[in-house]
Amino acid sequence: MNDRQTSRIRRRINFDLVFGLLLLSVSLFSALFASLIAPLGSDAMNLADRLKPPGVDGHLFGTDAIGRDILARIPHGGQISLTVGFVSVAVSLVVGVGIGLLAGFYRGVLDVVLMRIADVQLSFPFILLAITVIAVIGPGLWKLIFVMALTQWVQYARMVRGQVLSLREQDAVQATRALGASDARIVLRHMLPNLIGPVIVLATLNVANNILLESGLTFLGLGIDPLIPSWGGMLADGRNYMQTAWWVATFPGLAITVTVLGFNLLGDWLRDRLDPLDQGRGHES
């Protein structure tokens, strides 16, 4: 093995990737196997057992103010948080990439109209819009996902449109067109693969961002039903016990940190690998 090969491997497998994947696998596996970790479900309540410290009576993470096992609620809460993260990003990604491709490829009136809609969308601060929309339509898991998708498709649309504008002028694409390829073929076979890298990076970081937003909104009472275990809701339950029963807020807080950090590290690593503009900066990390 020569020096060049070693350094290439080192560049690929760095701290970001290893630690990111490690954190993510902890949170993904615990969410996937929530019913194994907590076979009794997350709702089992016993008022007589409220606010038991970690380790007492078999509650490894302690119990909350209603006497529910926190260890049982965290993986179930993870399912909610990850659902929100993945679904909201998937929806905004599909919508955003679609609109970006259309606008960039066909230009003209369509481009102007779509991008002005995007401008309008960009001018709303997310929290303000979320609070307004949720005040009108009421809180709930799917409504929250709807609001996130509503505000985030723009990021993808903008990015993809920009890429398409430059790609469509490239010789390879022009040649394909000259050879008589259909619009669909040009877009799907020649453009999409070339621009998907940065989109994936953005999506990964947005999953983390949306998990935080869900927690934040639920903490504010604008998100998910308090009965459904979600990390933000558990934090909100624990805020009054910060000084008397630290474990109620600490463990869901840690869960959020682990997951979000995992996604961010993975996103950073992906950016180093996939973003053409960042090529060559891999040495630095």
Partner: protein, 507 residues
Amino acid sequence: MKAGIKLFSVLALTLGLGVALSQSPGPTGKLVIAQTQDPHSWDPIDTFLLSWGMVGSNIFDGLVDRGPDLKIKPGLAERWVFLKNNSVIRFTLRKGVKFQNGEDFDASAVKFTFDRLLGDEGAKGPQQANYTAIKDVKVVSKYIVEFNMSRPDPVIITKLAGYGAKIIPPKYYKEVGDEKFNNLPVGTGPFRPTEYVKDDHLTLEAFTGYWGGSPKVKTITYRFIPEASTRVAELQAGRADIVQGVPVSLASVVKGIGDAELVPVGTTTVTELRFNTSMKPMDDVRVRRAMIYAVDRDTIIKTILQGYGKPIASFQGEISWGFDPKLKPLPYDPAKAKALLAEAKVPSGTEVEIDFTDTDVQFREVAQGIAGYLQAVGLKVNLKTFEQNTYFSDIIPKNKTGHMYNFGWGGWTLDFDNTAYLLYHKDEYWNPVFSDPKVEALLEKERGTYNQKARQKSMQELARYLQEIAIEMPLYQGVNLWGMNKRVSGWVVPPDDRNRLVNVSVK
């Protein structure tokens, strides 16, 4: 003493008040109160909120007053007498009383106040409904007024100590208009509002010409902080002297603050889950009773409320006139609940919704506890939270609630009449859907007489009937927890949130 004067002059200078030092020993010091809610209008006829009463009782007086001992005593009227077979009440007014703007208090102010309350302006607010038994107010002489009654109202004297009957200055009101009066009103009370920033704070200044003696504190600032842990943090940091609404979960934190103490006070306020009888399956009395049997309310009080609360059988506390010590709450009996649900053909997994306000951290726990019990008898529970003002001005009165919703009631007249009429009489603000001929009949019977024994009997019968048809799940009579910095002295904690601060001083 010298230090005191020095401190006072520093305060006066820093506050830029330019108070003449020769006035000492006048009111000194600054008191900061953190309360849960901003009622958004300080006009007494626009409100029913306890958060108004906390402040308004320092700005205004009524003809009749009620102190922290909940006993009726003369206010701006020195005495009153019932005439002409109870159809006229004659009030003799206190002389020499001035409003905070210097305007004289006399019979014309009383007439103006009640004309406004009973007229178009009053019709816009929730207070008019309390005083409709008054036909009109007649000025007999400068210090004598007569109330002509259109029908008997056995609770009228108590009601005159209420928010809506606070006396306002006619000249000032006409001069500044309704909007300015909502923000910076003037009354005859010991403190005058000087600055109001919506949802942030209201500042009151001492009114040294107060008829009941000069207040001891110079400035009071009410800060509106909906978030309980923030209020407690402000007490911890010494930025609030009196903190309202300490949730049970933070009681031990307040106890642990060195220069503060926890002050619990039994209240007249009762808490319940009201059933929305217009929704299926809540239209079935068996289902409603099943809900009550399913929930172990005693355990909720003992654990989540840590004993700061008392079980109730009807929607009133022990000191309410009409309270029946023989009426017991329905017991906790999950087996019976299941049987009733089966009998009503409510399938397992039926969804029911419980609504409450998003800042109420205490009820958030109670609601989750109730949900746990309801889930144990096979129901699927959804909890839904609303913003406080939307909840009370839109969701409840316009019947947009789910199957059950959290409701609290101050019971300020200490008489079940007021509670029952506003909550169970058909088409009232707080009762958009429920109506029952027997309830209407009992209410009419009770309202038609000044015979207190007969009234009590009717109201006890009403409470029993309401329990039988299970219109609500009575939960508990509350204990309010206050946090107080030890530098505050002379404060008598009121059970009805009407926090009178004229005799309070700060070190």
